[in-house]
Symmetry: C2
Subunit: 225 residues, 2 copies
Amino acid sequence: MAKEPLPVPTFDTPKAAIARLSLYLRQLEALERDGQSTVASKQLGRLLGLSDAQVRKDLAHFGQFGYPGVGYRVGELQAVLRGLLGLNRPWRAALVGVGNLGRALIGYQGFRERGFHIVALFDRDANLVGRKVGGFAVEPLERMAERVRAESVELCVLAVPADAAQQAADAAVAAGVVGILNFAPVALRLPERVSVVSVDLGLQLEQLVFQVNQRRPTKRSQSAG
Amino acid sequence: MAKEPLPVPTFDTPKAAIARLSLYLRQLEALERDGQSTVASKQLGRLLGLSDAQVRKDLAHFGQFGYPGVGYRVGELQAVLRGLLGLNRPWRAALVGVGNLGRALIGYQGFRERGFHIVALFDRDANLVGRKVGGFAVEPLERMAERVRAESVELCVLAVPADAAQQAADAAVAAGVVGILNFAPVALRLPERVSVVSVDLGLQLEQLVFQVNQRRPTKRSQSAG
């Protein structure tokens, strides 16, 4: 799978195109499950609500993957996208914040399936420290640097309340993690070398409500009262 | 705020532009916190990694909001976007699945802040039914239709395991919800009239890993072994 070196994407690649790589990959996986071995940019775009020109442009940022008269080979393009997205190897993550959200994330199948493994748990709550959750003992934030090194952890999943987020992020950065998945509804101040993706679940609900409104622009006034 | 009728967006509006409305809104909120009252499409785009042409095109789907020589008025455009996104009124939601993830979502501040209120809880686990969580008693799926009507619930937040998702979604649809926020890693079969947004946390981690890889394209090989 994708043995050849992949083109290294540059910082000039638009964020939106990067976000779409994950969507292309999921759609290709669905096509493969349906037994389809090639796909035209037009079909791929239609399935994702994009123009075929947009699909070709997005993928062209990373190389030349289409075949004239054939389109993209589903298996091959999947391997390319997995390589680009860093999914061709496992990633080890520490979880900070072992509350309800943290516990849900420890058991989240979608992480393991993609090669993301939570291998260390931290919490500032002394009552939680020492307890076992999902097979791992919860440790104090003070041990993070030592444990991140020992466990070859690169990523941190931050599932703490807003008021604890910056302190936890600072601890993770000091411990040497290079990427943070942030669930706290707060903008983190981080050094340039550390990447962050913030998960905003309110944003997802907004998107849902937009769709709901679109599908019944008139019904609301009819059913009022 | 936004008293005038807003243009009704059509189904032709690209999904990606709709997704960006939420991002524009968040950026405008940040600008307002910083005391900025107007913003040019160029600045708004730069802050979000988009071209100014893209910003103007996205917003032009919904109307004419810019002022020559001024740009957009931060407060006014916020009100427009809130209206478009359906954030100018509260939304009532039922939560199905009162496990760790469900409990985390009940307490999720980002929902309430945006006007999304979870007002009813359901679970298929008889051991959970009757227990109080976050002020609400957990009820069996069988009571969903009755409760959705009584509580004027329009949305359903689905926080159940993959194998329980379709059954729970069917119950929610039968009960009359018109939108589902789905956390289960499974594609739901739903009638055309029901909207769905699926939250894929693995996808967010992929985006993080992509960024991490980008920031140190050569370091990995140096530190190997």
